[in-house]
């Protein structure tokens, strides 16, 4: 194992433990804070894969904006505490489905890739290249997605506004 792999395993274990706590926590605010752990660990994975622009966007958008949005949503809706209030009765079936999907994916991945041959050798310093790729080759999807974001945010404002205006 190389040093990068050891760092990856440590960060990955943090991400998976945080994710499991997100789906099992009995307090909704704690679930949101464990989501911060998972998202930050995923940002660390991006840094190890030399995708530094995606890593900082992950920190800014996910940890900075989306988790705050979740916390506002939890504060505006009265969230109860406790396992029976937050989970439904079909936990066992859900657990079986999750384990089946994990087993199927692991079986497919270890069958599809050679363990020693499939290696990632990250290219370094990719921010400028990502920028020129977005604004040359993917400029039309970029504009479409900007418009989608604008429309979604206007829709969110319209949906959550109170109706009783004159």
């Amino acid at each position: 194992m190389t040093g990068a792999e050891i760092a990856f395993v440590v960060i990955g274990v943090a991400a998976v433990v945080g994710a499991i706590r997100v789906v099992t926590a009995r307090n909704v605010v704690r679930a949101a804070l464990y989501l911060v752990v998972t998202l930050s660990a995923v940002a660390g994975v991006y840094l190890l894969l030399a995708a530094e622009f995606v890593a900082w966007v992950q920190i800014l958008i996910y940890v900075g904006a989306i988790v705050i949005l979740f916390l506002f949503g939890l504060m505006l809706t009265k969230a109860p505490i406790g396992r029976e209030a937050l989970d439904n009765q079909r936990r066992g079936v859900a657990f079986l489905v999750g384990v089946a999907i994990l087993a199927g994916l692991v079986y497919l991945i270890q069958g599809a890739f050679d363990w020693d041959a499939a290696r990632i050798d990250p290219l370094e310093g990719s921010v400028a290249a990502v920028g020129s790729s977005i604004f040359s080759r993917f400029v039309l999807p970029f504009e479409v997605i900007s418009f989608l974001l604008l429309a979604a945010l206007i829709g969110a404002i319209v949906l959550s506004r109170k109706e009783d205006r004159p």
Binding site: A31, Y46, N88, L102
Partner: protein, 100 residues
């Protein structure tokens, strides 16, 4: 130097955790959080394959997925708050008006 299957295993673990969360949680905001876990698993795959193939398209599409996730959370939370205002609950198994 990182082995590609290791990254894919992490992504699979995050994805199946998100599937469990979507199926087992009944609070609407927690369901949205589990969807975020699944989107993150997809992003890890995109970035990992982009790094393995020395192609930047994976990173560009990861950025697009992050943008769509931001839009989805905005709309989703607006709908959850609207349901709470109308029904006094955000449990997704009690909102069954359209259930046949």
């Amino acid at each position: 130097m990182i082995r590609l299957p290791l990254v894919l295993f992490l992504s699979a673990a995050l994805f199946s955790t998100g599937v469990y969360g979507v199926l087992a949680r009944r609070n609407g905001v927690l369901v949205l959080m589990s969807i975020e876990l699944m989107l993150n698993a997809v992003n890890i795959n995109l970035v990992a394959f982009g790094a393995a193939l020395h192609d930047l398209t994976g990173q560009v599409f990861a950025l697009f997925v992050i943008t769509v996730a931001a839009a989805e959370v905005g709309i989703g939370l607006a709908i959850v708050i609207l349901i709470y205002r109308n029904r006094e609950t955000i449990n997704v198994d009690e909102v069954n008006l359209l259930k046949w």
